[in-house]
Structures are given as structure tokens and as C-alpha cells.
């Protein structure tokens, strides 16, 4: 999630100072990612987008109403499918949970607690019961994104928008986070245009010396 926010700022060529997250500096709502501007603290992607728009930086001004509707729809699709899959794999997969536990120092009981909450959440939303359904959803989502992207550089042709930031954030996270199973990453890699999309954004915005 942090990557989407960083990515969005990069797209807007806003100068910012990345800080390592420390609990004492977190905003009252406790949500990351957040940006600290003067006396204000803004957290989560949605509000950050609004905030930067109010300051005169917006990526989606050039879109007409229909395109904006499409963009929001695709953002929901990504949240629905990819975010759910990431949460599931991180917390509800036993092997991953054990590894997280040993590397991060979080107790196993805490992990099981979060996993239990998420199971209830999934039961109400997408009826996720097993890992194969998770992978199937990710494939479908990637197929839709791949078809929508086609051979264009960004989802809305020449200019990146919030959707590009969101998709990059999720795909990059999945591709670079080491999990016990690489199934999720493999599914994404089978869509070559999505892979080149990620590489292109990484190279254009994260290896630039000038922001």
C-alpha cells in the first residue's frame, strides 16, 4: 500500500521526503501510508489523492466523465480481487503465517486472531474458502487488467493516473514480496504486458535521479 502512495507522489513530481514508519509518528487514525505536510497528516490513498488534487496536482483531470467512471470501476476491481488475495495469502495461509511469525516477532496467536477476523470478512464478501479460489480471482483480475491495458503504456493511454499507481503498487508488492509459494507471482508473470508495465514504471519513476 505504501508503494501506491509513493508512486502517486512520483507521478505528480512532488518533492517529498520518505521516512521510515515509526509508531509514534503515525496519525491518530493509525493508517499507513500517510503523508506529513506542515501541520497536516493525510492517510490512505483516497484522501491523499484528494489532498494533492486540492493542492493543484491531479493525474485524472484530463479524463472525461466516462473515463473517470471506468477508472474508478477498475480501482474497485483491483481492491476487490488483488487486495483480498494479498490479505489472504499474508494472514490466512499457514505456511506464510509461520514464516511471518518467526521473522517479525509477532506472536502466532496474534496472527491467528487476524486470520480469524479475515475469514469472517471473506465469508461475507467473496465467500473465499480456499486458496485455489484466491488464485483464480487473481488470474481473472489480471486478465481483465491485461485486456484493458493492451499495448498502451498506461491505462489511459499516454498519462498515468491513480489507477496506474494502484495497479503498480499491488503488482509490484506481489512480485517482490517473498512468500512461501510463488503461485501468485507466477500468475501475474503470465501476462507479459502487465510485467512490462511494472518494469517501465519502476524504471521511469524509481530509478530517476531527478524526481
Amino acid at each position: 500500500m505504501k508503494i501506491e502512495r509513493v508512486n502517486y507522489m512520483k507521478h505528480n513530481s512532488i518533492n517529498y521526503q520518505p521516512e521510515t514508519f515509526s509508531p509514534s509518528s503515525a496519525p491518530v487514525s493509525g493508517k499507513i501510508p500517510f503523508i506529513h505536510v506542515g501541520n497536516q497528516v493525510v492517510s490512505e490513498l483516497g484522501p491523499i489523492v484528494q489532498f494533492t488534487k486540492a493542492k493543484g496536482h491531479s493525474l485524472s483531470d484530463g479524463l472525461d466523465d466516462v473515463q473517470r467512471a471506468e477508472m474508478k470501476a477498475y480501482m474497485e476491481l483491483v481492491n476487490n480481487m488483488l487486495l483480498t488475495a494479498e490479505l489472504y495469502v499474508q494472514w490466512c495461509d499457514d505456511a506464510t503465517a509461520a514464516e511471518v511469525c518467526s521473522s517479525s516477532g509477532l506472536s502466532l496467536k496474534y496472527i491467528w486472531f487476524v486470520s480469524g477476523l479475515l475469514q469472517v470478512y471473506f465469508r461475507f464478501t467473496s465467500g473465499l474458502g480456499n486458496v485455489s479460489r484466491v488464485y483464480e480471482d487473481v488470474s481473472q483480475c489480471c486478465q481483465a487488467l491485461s485486456q484493458r491495458l493492451g499495448t498502451q503504456p498506461y491505462f489511459f493511454n499516454k498519462q498515468p493516473t491513480e489507477l496506474d499507481a494502484l495497479v503498480f503498487g499491488h503488482l509490484f508488492t506481489i512480485l517482490t514480496t517473498r512468500l512461501t509459494s510463488s503461485e501468485l507471482a507466477e500468475r501475474i508473470k503470465s501476462y507479459s504486458n502487465l510485467l512490462s508495465f511494472c518494469k517501465r514504471i519502476e524504471q521511469s519513476y524509481f530509478y530517476d535521479k531527478s524526481s
Binding site: 487514525s29 466516462v66 471506468e70 461475507f124 481483465a144 487488467l145
Partner: protein, 307 residues
């Protein structure tokens, strides 16, 4: 010829074939795709508490959930999305996700959590359609499920109260309706001149909000301002659900069309392969001596149109 199909769903009222969103989605799709199904309302039966609706029964299989039922019908060659491009198919998935995430919580709240609407419209309707003693159980079960769902998916923490998320879910829903209205524009349906699964989903979500006589609903008032959406619902009802005139025929899938579709898929596969080959050629400089046209090296025996 497919085996006979039976659809179990909630019954109709308020000028609608069903008051239940999921049932309405499936009913609309069966009309759009020309699938002949026997509709068996579960009203006044014990299925009001035991069954998950909608449910499609065909031979030995029982399929639940609108998305799964629509998939099943497509496999039986009842396909209203036949003429959609791949990109339009992707758009369909995205808009359905939008409906689920942004509109559904507010609809659940409007019908099942809002005290006035629940007491005056929803509870009496469902109680009157359930046999004794289920009339005491069915509405309250559904209401508590609805409330839990909203809190879990939209609440910041499991312990938040509903009042704290109400503002957000209603503003999200109004935005969602606006987005649908922009997307529909002045067209009759979302993709071209014949309705597809997206039209079925939008109809299922929006029609109950449009037609129910709700005593208190800012969301309904908001919808009434979006003329093209209300017109969309009314025209589907008039064209597909009116007993006066027969339904228009669905897009006909003849054997020739099936062959054309296979051919199109093959051509697409070939062009994807060509693209991949091209990428490989560009990225491996030592192979620059190959002929630029990779087509002859694809030694498949499938027939394809010349490049």
C-alpha cells in the same frame, strides 16, 4: 437441447418480477440470453429459511450465486455477452466490482438497517411471504446478516457502530450511481443495442431502489434525478417483463457464428504469438540474423488468415 432448468428465487412485487437483487439479476439475464427457465418462487415455503437463492437447478446440478449461474448459462450456450470484445468483458468485471463495493452496502442499509424502511416495507413484505412461524425469523435473520456485512466490510474496526459508517456508504453509493449514469449516457444499454450481463447486474441493483415505495430514502431521491438510469430500468421492464408483448429474440448463435468465433480466437492467439516472438527477437541481439517475418516459423497446422 439443454435439460429443463428451474430457477428458485424470491417472488415479485412493486412492478418487478422479483424484489430480491440477486434473483432479479438472474431473471434479467435469462430473458436477455433467451434461456427458458421455470421460475419457482420460494415464497410461502420453508425454503425461505433453508435455501440460498437464487438457485438454478438443471438435471443433477444446482448452481448458486448470480456470477456462477451466469457462467453456467453461458456454458449452456445462453450467452448474452457473445458480441462483447475482450476489453468490454474486462470493463464488465470492473463495473460489477464497483456495484458490489460501492452500491451494495448502501442498498443493504436502505432496505434492512434503516428503521423506517425496514419497519414499513421490508419486514412486512418478507414476513408476509414466509410461512408461519418463519415469518418471525426470516426478516430478522436477513437484517442481522446485512448489518454484519456492512460493519465488517465498511467499518474501520469490528466494533464500530453503524452510524459512523452511514455517511461514507451513502456518499459512495451516490457517486456510484453518478458514475453509472455517465457511463450509460444516452444509450439504451451499456454495450451497444442489446443487453448483456452488465445490464442484468445494474438492473438487479437499481430496479428495487427505483420501484419500492420507501418512506425515507435520500438514495432513492438521488436516483430519481438520474433520468437515464430510471429510464433504463423502465425500458427493460417494458421490453422483457411485460406480459403484453413477447421478448425480443436474443443474439442468435448459429454454427457458422461459432466457427467465426473460433477463427477469431485463433487469429488473436496467432497475433499474440507473433508479438511474443517479436519481443524475443528484439531482446536477443544475437538472433538478429533471422528473417524479420517470423510467421513461417510458426509451424502449427491450424488454418489462419494471412497476415
Amino acid at each position: 437441447m439443454a435439460a429443463a432448468m428451474e430457477l428458485r428465487c424470491w417472488g415479485g412485487d412493486w412492478g418487478l418480477p422479483s424484489v430480491h437483487t440477486e434473483s432479479l439479476i438472474v431473471l434479467a439475464y435469462t430473458k436477455f440470453s433467451g434461456a427458458e427457465v421455470t421460475v419457482s418462487p420460494i415464497d410461502w415455503t420453508w425454503k425461505t429459511i433453508t435455501a440460498t437463492v437464487p438457485e438454478l437447478l438443471c438435471g443433477d446440478s444446482a448452481v448458486q450465486e448470480p456470477a456462477q449461474i451466469l457462467n453456467f448459462l453461458r456454458k449452456q450456450r445462453f450467452n448474452a455477452d457473445y458480441e462483447l470484445t475482450a476489453r468490454q468483458g474486462a470493463d464488465t468485471m470492473a463495473y460489477i466490482a464497483l456495484l458490489e463495493e460501492k452500491l451494495r452496502p448502501a442498498l443493504l442499509h436502505t432496505f434492512w438497517v434503516d428503521a423506517e424502511n425496514y419497519a414499513n416495507v421490508t419486514r412486512p413484505w418478507f414476513a408476509s411471504r414466509s410461512p408461519f412461524p418463519l415469518n418471525f425469523l426470516v426478516p430478522s435473520c436477513q437484517a442481522s446478516t446485512a448489518l454484519s456485512r456492512i460493519l465488517l466490510t465498511k467499518g474501520e474496526a469490528p466494533l464500530h457502530r453503524i452510524t459512523e459508517v452511514e455517511g461514507k456508504i451513502y456518499s459512495d453509493a451516490k457517486e456510484c450511481l453518478n458514475l453509472l449514469s455517465y457511463r450509460l449516457g444516452t444509450a439504451n444499454y451499456f454495450f451497444g443495442n442489446s443487453p448483456t450481463s452488465l445490464d442484468a447486474f445494474v438492473f438487479g441493483f437499481v430496479a428495487p431502489l427505483h420501484k419500492a415505495s420507501l418512506p425515507s430514502s435520500p438514495l432513492q431521491s438521488h436516483l430519481k434525478q438520474l433520468d437515464n438510469l430510471t429510464r433504463f430500468c423502465d425500458s427493460i421492464l417494458a421490453v422483457y417483463f411485460s406480459s403484453d408483448h413477447p421478448c425480443p429474440p436474443p443474439p442468435v448463435q448459429e454454427t457458422m457464428d461459432a466457427n467465426l468465433q473460433k477463427l477469431t480466437q485463433l487469429v488473436n492467439k496467432e497475433s499474440n504469438l507473433i508479438e511474443k516472438m517479436d519481443d524475443n527477437l528484439r531482446s536477443s541481439p544475437q538472433h538478429k540474423s533471422h528473417r524479420p517475418d517470423p510467421k513461417p516459423s510458426l509451424s502449427t497446422t491450424k488454418s489462419s488468415t494471412p497476415a
